[in-house]
């Protein structure tokens, strides 16, 4: 019985203790935004070398969490130098006109455990889509890590127009994998 009360006290007490903890200083060097895509059945890996992220997340009040991520599209690494040049061009990202892709969260839904659904608006190439990004949050000391994977369809954002618009060579589904690390601020 004693042990049970102790356990109960701990369970109730923990979120209270965490209440003060808000992770809001993003560490870009410990964060990554990568993607995979299929090209005629061949799985290719890519990533973005430059992005900026603002984040505020208190595990005690997850629904109040928010995030804004700006990705420098010209910093893309498609896995092939020829590809990097190609996707900056008009049919793909048209980086001269649309240099950044942006994700702005609109709400966080706890799913139990350390899993959350982060809803938000994703804007690429002037087109905005509502998306839901499943993420896990793992805290270690004053550092917290968001990890997640979601899929977007490049066709929804006109990424790859003209001769690239068909999905038989470069598939429509692009899987995005991210890790955002933030420490607790003052």
């Amino acid at each position: 019985m004693k042990r049970f009360i102790l356990a109960l006290a701990l369970t109730i007490g923990l979120p209270l203790a965490a209440h003060a903890t808000t992770f809001n200083q993003v560490q870009t060097d410990k964060s990554a935004i990568a993607f995979t895509y299929q090209q005629m059945g061949v799985k290719m890996d890519g990533k973005f070398r430059k992005f900026a992220a603002k984040l505020s997340f208190a595990p005690a009040k997850p629904t109040e969490g928010s995030a804004t991520i700006d990705i420098d599209l010209a910093s893309i690494d498609t896995g092939a130098p020829e590809g990097d040049q190609e996707v900056a061009g008009k049919p793909w990202f048209n980086t001269k006109v649309f240099p950044t892709a942006q994700f702005v969260s609109t709400g966080v839904k706890p799913l139990g455990g350390n899993r959350y659904d982060v809803a938000g608006k994703l804007t690429i190439k002037g087109k905005t889509q509502d998306i839901v990004v499943p993420a896990t949050f793992t805290a270690q000391g004053n550092s917290g890590v968001f990890d997640g994977t979601f899929t977007i369809r490049r066709g929804d954002f006109s990424i790859g127009e003209g001769s690239w618009a068909k999905f038989d060579i470069v598939a429509n589904d692009i899987q995005i994998k991210f890790r955002i690390t933030a420490v607790t601020g003052k």
Binding site: M40, G41, V42, E82, S163, I169
Partner: protein, 176 residues
């Protein structure tokens, strides 16, 4: 001593002849095309055909070592016989080395080979740009050498047929 090729040997010879001419033509044509969906498609086709050719040459070698091919005409000078055998040896070596170099190059360049878009062929090398560029040079060099030896192979066959008037060319033809 047999004086004819088995029909399996003939079939493999001509299948590979067609496949290799296609591969060579596509390879030389596609490599400096600007990036386009078609270029990616050509590369995939080239790799699929290359894997197929590699498997065919293995089957052919297995057949070759278990079935003795007809001997060269006794009228051929020793040196010419040696040259013929050496030429065939080099052709086989290149038919192995060329797809291998292409496979390694694909891995080093970070494009895995997926046979017919379905069966992934394991990457033997990690992605490495310098190594990829080096293997591209090797793949091209080996192919240029292959074209030269192939020209000798075809030239020799024609010489046997039209000048020496022996059966070297006709005995590999389907209905002989």
């Amino acid at each position: 001593m047999t004086d004819r090729y088995t029909s399996t040997a003939k079939t493999l010879h001509w299948l590979m002849a067609i496949l290799l001419f296609g591969l060579l033509a596509l390879g030389f044509y596609m490599h400096d095309l600007p990036l386009s969906p078609q270029k990616l498609q050509f590369y995939s086709w080239h790799k699929w055909a290359g894997v197929t050719a590699f498997l065919l040459v293995l089957a052919r070698l297995a057949w070759r070592v278990t079935h003795i091919p007809p001997a060269l005409p006794a009228s051929m000078p020793r040196l010419m016989q040696f040259a013929a055998h050496a030429g065939h040896f080099v052709l086989y070596a290149l038919m192995i080395a060329i797809p291998l170099s292409g496979w390694l190059m694909s891995s080093a360049k970070g494009f895995q080979t997926v046979w017919f878009g379905v069966l992934p062929i394991p990457d033997l090398l990690d992605k490495n740009k310098e190594l990829g560029d080096l293997l591209a040079v090797a793949h091209k060099g080996l192919n240029l050498l292959f074209v030269a030896v192939l020209a000798g192979h075809i030239g020799a066959a024609l010489k046997h047929h039209f000048i020496d008037k022996d059966d070297i060319l006709t005995r590999i033809l389907p209905k002989h």
